[in-house]
Amino acid sequence: MRESVMRGGDARMSRLTRRLAFAAALVLLAAMPYMLDAYRLDLLAGGLAYGLMAASLAFLVGHGGLPSLGHAAFLGVGAYAAGLTAKHVTPNVALQLLVAIAAGVLFALLTGWFAVRTRGFFFLMFTLAIGEIAVQAATRSTRVTGGDNGLADIPPTGLDVVTFYWWALAVVAVGFGVLVLLRDGPLGRSIAGARENEARMAALGYHVTGVRLAAVVIAGAVCAAGGALVEQKDTFVAPTHLEIGVSVLLLIMVLLGGRQTLIGPLIAGVGLIVLRSVTSTALGELWLLVEGALFVICVYLLPNGLLGRRRAQAA
């Protein structure tokens, strides 16, 4: 009953080994405050948030077969929702997170309703349009969002760097766990089915549009949670968080990590955030050239991403 092919890289191991490795990684990550200084810890927390958002996009792109170029809109929706809640309603980070997730779901329903009617490259371009319209909306709703200068007057969370790191780690771990469970549950498999063969799904009695919409909602909700973390870390959010460049960055994380897995993009997300920080510190303006070269090299050397394995080809 296991969906062995989709899992790609990690399907090679038993479920037990996989769980042990996950637990070990979690312990190692939880111990990071004892090894890293405040700045690096903060960087890692940001990396984890991006990793979670990359994993959510992998759920959409790899698992759902819906290549989105507007995923940063969900980051923005989550971040603004959490930030506005912090500013106007409650200092409770967990409540802010819940509001962010709810906003992500709502936004996914509103936009996904239209988006899932397009396919492939056209889905890509449609989501790009949604992302850009979201940027404009955030920029121009100055009274609510602070406009292009961002929502600056969000009160501090009151959590110190270490506590916030653990909070972020917990959210990322739970969020990632939810993604994995959903992927392997009935709905997740229906989503995989819709990716593989829409005609057959309809013939089996599935409402394919609904299934695809569910994929958008799940990915959007989890991404919004990641967006909330980004906001809570910096207590700042600006329209630049939603820009196409961020969507592209998330998509690159997915491709580098291997779109057939969820863990690969998570790791690639953390890695790319850390790598950018390291290279831009060390190389100045040349960091971008190095990153471009990295993408090119990765395409050739890691054809299926860091952890991906080629999905079985249809005969």
């Binding site: 890289g9 990690d10 191991m13 080994t17 996989r18 490795a21 996950f22 070990a24 990684a25 190692l28 990550l29 990071m32 090894m35 890293l36 200084d37 405040a38 700045y39 690096r40 903060d42 960087l43 890692l44 940001g46 404009q136 920029t139 121009r140 100055t142 406009g147 292009d148 200068n149 961002g150 600056a152 501090p156 980004v230 910096d234 207590t235 700042f236 600006a238 329209p239 630049t240 968080h241 460049g245 863990i263 690969g264 790791i267 953390v270 890695g271 850390v274 920080s277 390291v278 831009s280 510190t281 100045g284 303006e285 960091w287 971008l288 860091l306 952890l307």
Partner: protein
């Protein structure tokens, strides 16, 4: 998954490594963190900024306030999130004494917030957002509002008391500058502008559709555009023949040295209100312009001047000793190539002369001086 664990290990090691390089700041050196756009859409300004700061240090024996100076440049890529991350790195890891640079306003907002939390003073060398400034945040550039306000005051005298049309990029710098203009203009006795035309920021490749919305009864046009949009605007305005239909007054960015060469002949005759001109006649400016020209072969841009003054401000404050944050607030008069200016006591924004400049024969000739408004 094996790879995953491995990758995590590598990652954590790489994150740990280098932690030893940080050293506690000691009294004999002063560390300046400059957050600059080295990449991204603002990197043209970033180049000037970095050059000016380094030029100042070169010219002052690499010392600020008598202490050995260390300038650490970090790339914000034009993005506030990255800028804030860099601010964290500079304060927490490099333990800089002061953060400067800051081109785009959103970046400055995010960085000021972060630096405030880390109790590190900030000297803004470019960003114009009105809201910036206050405890620990100092600005040697200008507020968008004052930029427009000065132009508004000037316009009443030079362009008449009615028939103003405003046009600008639809983002905070644009709307704040236009708001400043409207206030400056009406307070000086001008009538309310008859129309305001806003154009999508960063997405407008062509101003003809917007220029065509200027009402026929308009007497003059005041505009705010910067960077690539400034080039396009200036060229469009001239080439669509608007120079013969309506008088033009602009913000300083449209005829800044950054863009003049790209605009070419179409810049000829444009009058703008700005805080600086390479043609200003004072000894500080003469020295500054000759140094800059020797280095780059061009006239200094406004950003270059501001960055130079940012270092000058830090230099003076560091020389005063004590807490840098307090000292920055007490520097008093700064003899800048733009003329002498001070920072106001409350928000630490510059109180400075503005100049009406007309671009002729390759330089922005100063045609009028607009003194700072005591009321604002």
């Amino acid at each position: 998954m094996r790879h995953a664990v491995l990758a995590l290990l590598v990652l954590s090691v790489s994150a740990c490594g280098g932690a030893a390089t940080q050293s506690a700041a000691d009294d004999s050196t002063i560390k300046v963190g400059a957050i600059v756009s080295q990449t991204g859409v603002y990197s043209a300004l970033g180049d000037d900024m970095e050059t000016a700061m380094k030029l100042y240090l070169e010219g002052h024996g690499n010392k600020l306030g008598g202490k050995q100076a260390e300038l650490i440049v970090a790339d914000d890529a034009g993005n506030p999130e990255t800028g804030q991350q860099k601010a964290k790195q500079l304060t927490l890891e490099n333990k800089v004494d002061v953060i400067t640079g800051l081109i785009a306003s959103p970046v400055a907002v995010a960085v000021a917030k972060e630096a405030g939390a880390q109790k590190t003073p900030v000297v803004i060398a470019n960003a114009g957002a009105d809201a910036l400034g206050g405890p620990g945040v100092f600005r040697v550039s200008y507020t968008n509002y004052m930029h427009g306000y000065a132009a508004g005051k000037y316009a009443v005298e030079a362009y008449g008391k009615e028939g103003a049309v405003l046009m600008g990029a639809d983002y905070s710098a644009g709307t704040e500058t236009l708001k400043g203009f409207e206030d400056g203009y009406t307070k000086a006795g001008g009538a309310k502008p008859i129309k305001q035309i806003l154009t999508p920021f960063g997405k407008t490749q062509n101003f003809q559709p917007y220029l065509s919305q200027i009402p026929s009864e308009a007497k003059f046009l005041y505009t705010f555009y910067a960077g690539g949009e400034a080039i396009t605007f200036a060229k469009n305005f001239k080439q669509f023949g608007y120079d013969s239909k309506i008088k033009l007054l602009t913000c300083q960015n449209i005829t800044d040295e950054d863009v003049l060469q790209a605009i070419g002949a179409d810049a000829e005759g444009i009058t703008s209100v700005g805080l600086y001109s390479p043609a200003l006649d004072n000894p500080e400016n003469a020295a500054f312009v000759s140094m800059w020209k020797a280095k780059t072969g061009k006239n200094p841009s406004v950003v270059a001047l501001q960055s130079w003054d940012a270092m000058q401000l830090i230099d003076k404050a560091a020389a005063a000793g004590g807490s840098l944050s307090d000292a920055l607030a007490k520097v008093g008069e700064i003899k800048s190539p733009r003329g002498t200016f001070t920072l106001d006591a409350d928000k630490h924004n510059p109180v400075q002369n503005w100049y009406a400049r007309t671009y002729e024969g390759g330089v922005n000739k100063v045609v009028a001086t607009i003194p700072p408004d005591p009321a604002s």
